[in-house]
């Protein structure tokens, strides 16, 4: 079979287009957004369950004290601070600055591990067990859900940080770093909501 003779202007030439892109141009961004919608919805529904149970209960917390404020508030501060290296790393990835990305990823991993350490303190001062009453169950569910996010994103960051040092590297990996940073913003934002509910929902 011989190809038919092409008229000029008949073909749209894609070979000049870039081979990766950042933000909403990238399919990866949309995939990450999809995960964020799903997980955001799980948080929102668990928070609705919290207030639904609260509305059906004569006392809240049910027969226990609200959680101690210290560790949870410390994590709020830590996570808000972690936004600084996260944003810095994201911008470094977007200008494909490998040296800054390596430094930034390392700092982000340290922040992730620190948040996890503080999380241990939070669990030990919740002042309720998951099996004490429904209040305890929903508090542990919220904390557990967020901890899963903290663990997975910290692990993702570690894998990505190692890859950025050892390679094999290509331009698309900078998109991964940028998306990972974007996802961390979601982890922080969801913590602000979970913190407000778990630590203040039993006080106000």
């Amino acid at each position: 079979m011989t190809p038919p003779v092409e008229k000029p202007g008949d073909a749209l030439d894609a070979s000049v287009l870039p081979t990766f892109a950042f933000g909403p141009r990238s399919p990866m961004w949309w995939g990450t957004l999809g995960m964020i919608v799903v997980e955001g919805m799980v948080f929102a529904l668990t928070i609705m369950a919290y207030f639904y149970l609260r509305s059906r209960s004569p006392a809240w917390p049910q027969e226990s004290l609200p959680p101690d404020l210290f560790w949870g508030s410390l994590n709020v501060i830590l996570m808000l601070l972690s936004g600084v290296p996260t944003g810095w790393t994201k911008r470094a990835a977007e200008r494909q600055d490998l040296r800054c990305v390596r430094i930034g990823m390392a700092v982000c991993v340290v922040f992730g591990l620190a948040c996890l350490l503080v999380r241990i303190g939070e669990f030990s001062t919740l002042n309720v067990r998951w099996d004490t009453n429904a209040y305890g169950s929903v508090v542990w569910m919220l904390m557990g859900l967020h901890t899963v996010h903290l663990v997975t994103d910290t692990y993702d960051s570690i894998v990505l940080a190692v890859l950025m040092v050892t390679g094999p590297l290509e331009g698309k990996r900078f998109v991964d770093v940028a998306e990972n940073a974007g996802y961390w913003y979601f982890v922080v934002a969801s913590w602000l909501a979970v913190y407000a509910v778990v630590f203040w929902g039993g006080r106000l």
Partner: protein
């Protein structure tokens, strides 16, 4: 526009999955995954149908002792669970995974490995449920597993635990498929296919997939809370510890009602496609149709409480949900009027796909009318938990989903296999299905009005329900025979049917521009789209895309609204790691039924498999670096 044979062979070699058993578990081509998905969901459909036949045989006579109460509980729970979670929702996604890339001019779906992973965990979750059933551990608390019946106190065996974990498997799979489909539709349409030129089926899939993201988390949360209540003594649903049983119903139906539309909206897309082709004209009111789909998607989230009219909710709240339940009839009516206008003004070609669509009109109309009856609170209180509800939901689900689905199989089977399904057998199947369906389910309306409750394993002769029940059983057998004819038709036509060629229906959408079955890369040349029905309307310039690599799985990423070329992307190679990750996930999920610590130790192999899945290959990275064009 064609390419020479060497380029075509190269393209095929690039996109084809590797051979052998390792290749089989490494497959990521969307058509391969979709075919497996379709076969798996159809297998579950047949299994669920056999369970239904067993129930009908038990009910054919009063005081029958064919099946005991305990087994019967498992039968109706497994039947409902299978049809809803293992058939109706996933089969629509399975079709979409095959058709969407072909309809939008793409060479693949967006995340081919995630697509493969989603299939495997769906399969393993479904198989797990049936293995448990064969060991007499089949779920038995109804397909919506109301608490307190499903709590440990009243269901102390592992049956409900398997049910709850099946939810986790299938819903994680469905959410991943939704993300794959949304990204594919928004970012991978061929240049020129603006949102205004997107086929109505693809619009239906987009609306459905967005709904999946918002609806399914509710049932995942509900079933997770149920299983922690059962296994580690959380107290979500236990009133004596401050929990609340209605929380389950709210969460379940916040998912459950939108689910009806997850099942119903993709078939609306099937219908629009089939009607356009067999009326020989585009559907009347394209934009109206799109807006109606979106409106349906929104309104579907405002209906869940109408499943809870028999609870102690405030009466004013129930009125709101009555109004919303009536309101959602409007966008559906708008679509039906557009279809009638299309059929009225078209030149009709009566082939089997169109027959099933016309069957849909009759059945859905009846199901919709009984829906309006049930939307009013006083009547619902009278009919709640009777066979009237069973009749209604089968009219809606079989009429709204299964009739169009069979039409879709007859319509696209030639594309999947290269052969047309037999037309004569098809007409017989349709006639048997249509008549059998009405004989099976219409009597249930009357039984419900006479007060026969659903989910009873038998009834005494004095009730006078015998005749109608026997009639219903005869209808069910006719449905079974019809499905058997369908299987015979598929088996005969798979290899031996009339050769279809590219476009046996002279249809207007892009999937008919390629060979049947399509090559691994779908399109030898990526087209540029200039019209809503590209095969019916004159083309323009440019007509196609050049400059995409044939040696690598390179795809074109386009902008969201106008599908302007944006960048090129290499999709990952075939890989066994999604399969391995799915096995690891299965071990974690099943392990957690027996020990909560499985969530901890089971996570380690999952994390390892996912890391291996992600870790880039040296040689591919090198190739990419040598041809990289930064943004």
């Amino acid at each position: 526009m064609n390419i020479d044979a060497a380029d075509e062979a190269q393209l095929e070699a690039t996109w084809r999955d590797p051979p052998g058993w390792l290749g089989a578990i490494s497959a990521v081509n969307h058509k391969t995954i979709s075919c497996r998905f379709m076969v798996a969901t159809f297998g579950f459909f047949v299994a669920g149908g056999i369970l239904a036949l067993l129930m009908r045989l038990q009910l054919a006579q009063p005081s029958n002792s064919l099946i005991g109460a305990d087994r019967y509980n498992q039968l109706f729970t497994m039947h409902g669970t299978t049809m809803m979670f293992l058939f109706a929702v996933p089969v629509m996604q399975a079709f979409a995974i095959y058709l969407v890339p072909l309809m939008i001019g793409a060479r693949s779906v967006a995340f081919p490995r995630m697509n493969a992973y989603a299939f495997w965990i769906f399969l393993f979750g479904g198989v797990m449920l049936y293995v448990a059933f064969f060991f007499d551990t089949g779920a038995d608390a109804g397909w919506f597993a109301y608490v307190p019946l499903s709590t440990f106190k009243y269901s102390p065996t592992k049956r409900v635990d398997f049910w709850a974990q099946m939810i986790t498997f299938t819903e994680v799979s469905a959410m991943m498929e939704a993300i794959v489909l949304i990204t594919t539709i928004l970012k991978m349409r061929a240049p020129g296919m603006t949102l205004n030129r997107m086929p109505l089926f693809v619009w239906g899939v987009l609306v459905t997939s967005v709904m999946v993201l918002f609806a399914l988390p509710a049932v995942v949360l509900a079933s997770t809370a149920l299983i922690t209540d059962r296994l580690v003594d959380t107290r979500f649903y236990s009133p004596e510890h401050g929990g609340d049983v209605l929380l389950w119903q709210h969460l379940f139906w916040f998912f459950g009602h939108p689910e009806v539309y997850l099942i119903f909206i993709p078939p609306l897309g099937f219908i629009s496609t089939i009607i356009a082709t067999f009326a020989r004209r585009p559907v009347v009111g394209y934009r109206t149709m799109v807006l109606a789909l979106i409106a349906t998607g929104f309104l579907a989230f405002g209906l869940w409480v109408h499943h809870m009219f028999a609870t102690d909710l405030p009466e004013l709240g129930k009125l709101f949900f009555t109004a919303a339940s009536l309101l959602i009839a409007l966008p559906t009516a708008v679509q039906i009027f557009c279809w009638i206008a299309t059929l009225w003004s078209g030149r009709l070609w009566f082939r089997t796909p169109l027959l099933f669509v016309l069957g849909f009109f009759a059945i859905l109309l009846l199901g919709g009318l009984t829906g309006l009856m049930l939307a009013s609170v006083p009547l619902d209180l009278q009919l709640h938990d009777t066979y009237f509800v069973v009749a209604h939901l089968h009219y809606v689900l079989l009429g709204g989903a299964v009739f169009p689905l069979f039409g879709a199989v007859y319509y696209w089977f030639p594309k999947f296999t290269g052969h047309l399904l037999g037309e004569t057998l098809g007409r017989w199947q349709f006639a048997l299905f249509f008549i059998g369906f009405n004989v099976a389910f219409f009597p249930m309306h009357l039984l419900g009005l006479q007060g026969m409750p659903r989910r009873v394993y038998t009834y005494p002769a004095q009730t006078g329900w015998t005749g109608l029940n026997l009639l219903s059983t005869i209808g069910a057998l006719a449905i079974g025979l019809s499905v058997l004819l369908f299987i015979v038709n598929v088996a005969r036509s798979w290899r031996g049917g009339v050769v279809a060629g590219n476009d046996p229906w002279s249809a207007g959408t892009l999937e008919w521009s390629v060979a049947s079955p399509p090559p691994a890369a779908n399109f030898n040349v990526v087209p540029v789209v200039h019209a809503l029905s590209p095969l019916w309307q004159p083309g323009g310039t440019p007509s196609h895309v050049t400059g995409l690599s044939g040696e690598h799985r390179e795809v074109l990423i386009t902008s969201i609204a106008d599908a302007e070329p944006d960048h090129r992307l290499w999709l990952p190679a075939s890989s066994p790691w999604p399969f391995v990750a799915a096995i690891a996930t299965t071990i974690l999920f099943i392990g957690s039924i027996f020990s909560p610590w499985a969530v901890v130790w089971g996570a380690i192999p999952v994390a390892a498999a996912c890391t291996m899945w992600f870790w880039p290959k040296q040689d591919m990275t090198q190739h990419r670096r040598s041809s990289e064009v930064p943004p």
